[in-house]
Amino acid sequence: MTKKPKLLVANRSEIACRIFQTCREMDIATVALLAPGDEEGRHITYADEVQKVKSYLDIESVVQAALSSGAEMIHPGYGFLSERPAFARSVEAAGLTFIGPRAETMELMGGKIAAKELAAREKVPTLPWAKVKVGEDIQTAAKKIGYPLLLKASAGGGGKGMRKVNRPEDLLSSAESASSEALAAFGDGTLFLERLVNHPRHIEVQVFGNGRGDGIHLYERECSLQRRHQKVWEEATAPHLPQKTKEGLFEAALKLVKATRYRNAGTIEFILDEEGQFYFLEMNTRLQVEHPVTELVTGVDLVWAQIVQAQNSAETVLKESPSVRGHAIEVRLYAEDPAQGFMPTPGKIERLRWPTGAGIRIESGIEEGQTVGTQFDSMLGKLVVYAENRNRALARLRFALDETVILGIGSNQSYLQAISIHPRVIEGKVNTGFLETELSAFGFYPSEDDLSLIGSAKVEGWEHHLGNELNFGRQNQDSVFSLSPWTAFVRKGAFH
């Protein structure tokens, strides 16, 4: 009898559970990692085996965990070590299979400047840009690019070391602070300047390569709804995108797949300006958080494809682009309170009910009774819906959000509901600044009907409190909105 294959997921929570599912379906044994403070993590419950590590970021102890458990494959998920070339190298040096691209590809695409140079060589449109070392003449470089422009840390990400510069007179002071921020965060103060696009859309193309120069695209996703550079809502495919633009995007993406002889799943991010011209932004050399929307519209299990490709490096798992059907939307539920500046809301999940029904997919990172701490990412899970067209998908998303019950801790659930009923979102006309400008302040207030229900709710001990002042909204752990956003929206014009 041959030994059952074994796979370690170097990650936690919902993405670990997502990968475990495909492993189970493929009859692959699963190994979870447990770092201190994550004892209640959902992935610990679902794995066949658990290995303790000092930290999810500790390369040595993660590789050692795989060796001790006898796993021959490591899936890095997203975040943590997923895009660290050193990790991919250590995994392969230990004789294990890394499910993802080669370390050299990560290195190449991980450096913003190297990636842009490659894109330019491949005739993939990039925004005018320039690299500026500390002390170099930044004014001349800026003049060539034009204003407004964006200062970015060349080594960075996540908005650190990033500054928007509107006028030449602000350039020097912004560059100074951006550079020192970049130095503190990444140990490298090198900046690069880039033309700023007003009201851009974020469109990305899912790709999959066989590692030998061939690859396919799996269409695009729109991820323009972001808060502080963090995506909260993703769709496949992008609404109102002309066929010609799509073809241009896919062609550009495939050029980069070919040029890097890209192996496994990856995403190429572009921004689209108001004229519909696209520019290469960066490549994510891993599975994305939002991969489910692509899976739903293409019918491809990306994790399955990743594992099969890694197990059979001489094969080509995905030979041609699948057809695309229907529309999918994903929203991310975070433990944060939109009413209080998106403050984290750690605590115990007293009640949890995920929605069920046609076209609903839940990627849960939590369980009822679990305590959500502040040590890890605040994402509780993802709610993904699929329907035959975008309007039906939006309606389905509203249904799914309505049916979701999370009690005990606050979440951004009502914020997502607010987004889902916004006319511009319904129209499909948003850009990356939309959430900050249109939805920075919003409020729902209760209807007469809601108040009446609350006033007379006398079950489960409510009667003991009648006659007292009911003070909702002071709790720093919980966000408070009305019971009826639909009527509130119409009556009060909740959006400013």
């Binding site: 009413a339 007293e350 009640r351 009910r353 959000l401 309505d402 049916e403 979701t404 019950v405 999370i406 009690l407 005990g408 606050g410 979440s411 659930q413 009502s414 509901q417 409020g443 729902f444 207030y445 209760p446 007469e448 009907d449 809601d450 108040l451 009446s452 229900l453 609350i454 006033g455 007379s456 709710a457 006398k458 079950v459 489960e460 001990g461 409510w462 009667e463 003991h464 409190h465 009648l466 006659g467 007292n468 002042e469 009911l470 003070n471 909702f472 909204g473 002071r474 709790q475 752990q477 919980d478 966000s479 408070v480 909105f481 009305s482 019971l483 009826s484 956003p485």
Partner: protein
């Protein structure tokens, strides 16, 4: 007595309701169905723990705390909410069912951290129900006595 609901720093007065306005029914799965006089059915999930309450209705989370209006009773003794404020033990119950009590009258004695606290009536009324027994261990949020307001 009217009730106030505070949402996003805005006060709402709850309408005067009587028990016939909504009928409540518990359903499997933790759902509660509220049916109005007009026959409108609404479904929600509710959780109350340690005096804190959260409620989810059509995906909107309400949460908060019930706070009694008269806060200044009892001085340095146990807080006057008729809900246990801290872990402890019921030492002695000083009232009986149906008894008329005056505002500030001691209702029961609670022991915690080797000290004794008295729980006093926040308003004049009648003891409608005694929710605890002598010697019982208390967790924060446990209901102690149901007091009906009246003279």
């Amino acid at each position: 007595m009217s009730q106030t609901l505070k949402v996003l720093r805005k006060n709402f007065t709850l309408p005067q309701t009587n028990s016939s306005d909504w009928k409540f029914e518990k359903r499997p799965g933790g759902w509660i169905i509220a049916t109005s006089k007009e026959g409108i059915r609404r479904r929600f999930v509710m959780q109350e723990k340690k005096g804190k309450l959260s409620l989810s209705l059509r995906g909107i989370l309400w949460s908060g705390e019930w706070i009694q209006k008269s806060r200044d009773l009892g001085g340095g003794e146990a807080a006057n909410d008729l809900v246990a404020q801290f872990p402890g033990k019921v030492r002695k119950i000083l009232v009986s069912l149906g008894q008329k009590v005056e505002e500030g009258e001691a209702l029961l004695l609670v022991e915690a951290m080797k000290m004794e606290f008295s729980v006093k009536a926040p308003f004049p009324g009648f003891v409608k129900e005694i929710k605890v027994k002598e010697g019982q261990q208390l967790s924060p949020g446990d209901l102690l006595i149901d007091l009906e307001e009246g003279k």
